[in-house]
Point group: C2
Chain length 296, copies 2
Amino acid sequence: MDALVEHGLLVPGGAAGIVGRSAVFEDIRERFDAAVSRAAAGDGAERMSFPPVLPRRYLEDTGYLHSFPHLAGTVFAFEGGEQQGIDMASMADRHEDWTALQQASDLVLTPAVCYAVYPAVAARGPLPGGGVTIDPGGAFAFRHEPSGDPTRLRMFHMRELVRIGAPDEVAAWRAGWCDRALALLQRLGLQVRAEVANDPFFGRAGRMLARAQREQELKLELVVPIAGPRPTAVASLNLHREHFAAAHGLTLADGRTAHTACLGFGHERIVLALLRTHGLDPRGWPPGPRHELEMP
Amino acid sequence: MDALVEHGLLVPGGAAGIVGRSAVFEDIRERFDAAVSRAAAGDGAERMSFPPVLPRRYLEDTGYLHSFPHLAGTVFAFEGGEQQGIDMASMADRHEDWTALQQASDLVLTPAVCYAVYPAVAARGPLPGGGVTIDPGGAFAFRHEPSGDPTRLRMFHMRELVRIGAPDEVAAWRAGWCDRALALLQRLGLQVRAEVANDPFFGRAGRMLARAQREQELKLELVVPIAGPRPTAVASLNLHREHFAAAHGLTLADGRTAHTACLGFGHERIVLALLRTHGLDPRGWPPGPRHELEMP
């Protein structure tokens, strides 16, 4: 982190896991996002971009809190009157805890960029034959895991692609994208491999969820050495089966419940992997990665 | 709102003031952002991009809750143990209120994109001679004002530029940008004018703040007809004098407290103004605006 700040790549954001990004960092990040778009061009995905908050109800409908209660962020706000407002501001002046005057709103922070996609597509009615592919772009996701590790930010960009359709189509899409994502990251000169993985489920029950997820190979991660003894996941490919579709009523043209899958690249982690692999100054990177990122 | 959804420009986001944006909407928005960057090229601004959350402390340091307690959003999260996690998830399954198990984190939602800039620049020490201009880009800001009006979103993109320097430099920068921003919006074919304005300060004390702000012409807004009887602010240019600089310790090379100013364009409002003025299909827009937005 210190080296990244010293080289003007990241800017301290004043809290654990919150960082600002410099022009150089953003240039790499946006070029990677564009490289994903080029790799995805054949999918004919429909673009649909959402803000980094969504209805609290969506977390409830999908059972998110069973799996990740520790990672969720909820949005609170003030609903009081004039005197309470003055009291709250006065407490804030003294850096006392004024948050008891905040009440839960109907919003939560977006835990994964695809969460807003499923209900939006479901609201249109049954899927067309062949299903749909949605591109929610590169957008912010939130995970409440404060840390000083630049590879573990609390708010970070996730570039997703979402496939919704019949079970076999969705499984084939994920398998195909595992190869395409590996090839893309290899063209960027990263030492990447795919492995079966599990989400960081909460608590004792979470250990069983993790085991089942691994046994069924529902989650694949693409991992790259960045720092520390073990490689870091920079992308994941997830089969949700009927999980999101059943929660939101996503049905196929024939009335069956759809399957869904998503692909997510962690933008900041990929930029960090590139900086670690090729050096902190992109002008000195090898021709292959520079070409892939269309650097002039 | 219905017409925008029907024409595939916006996607309902499941809560008041939360919307998804289609490919067409995003294309216009990104082209406008690029047009601002072209207009700003001569400023030599340093790019510095922050996530849509920031330390709660920054709101305290700047007295935000005195002015806008009703607009702030705070981030809460779960810090409990295994049984509390299970209880919380079970309540969520039944759509009961599980938010009593959430505790305030150290983060708030970003109320304006420039809020993260001042402490980041202050941390570097005294400003260089001539001050600095910072480009935090087009990023999300949050205002807790739930509404069904597409011009009043709770989470929206604000493209800011920030000037930090000596009082006369900062005032001249704002005056110059008022002209440049007006000219840019006129080239886009918008019926725009600048007017002295005030922020939506809270409560009775807020009325005095608003009057003082108007008398000193600290806030200028660029307004455009979109919907309803009165035109809508699509950009604002704000002189903060020593407000942010004193809160964060921003000093000039000679040790005096700096002045700051910011310019903010409301991306979504500008896209809506363009759609209202020129029609819901950008392919039919007049050549002038299409040229300015570099539409092919």
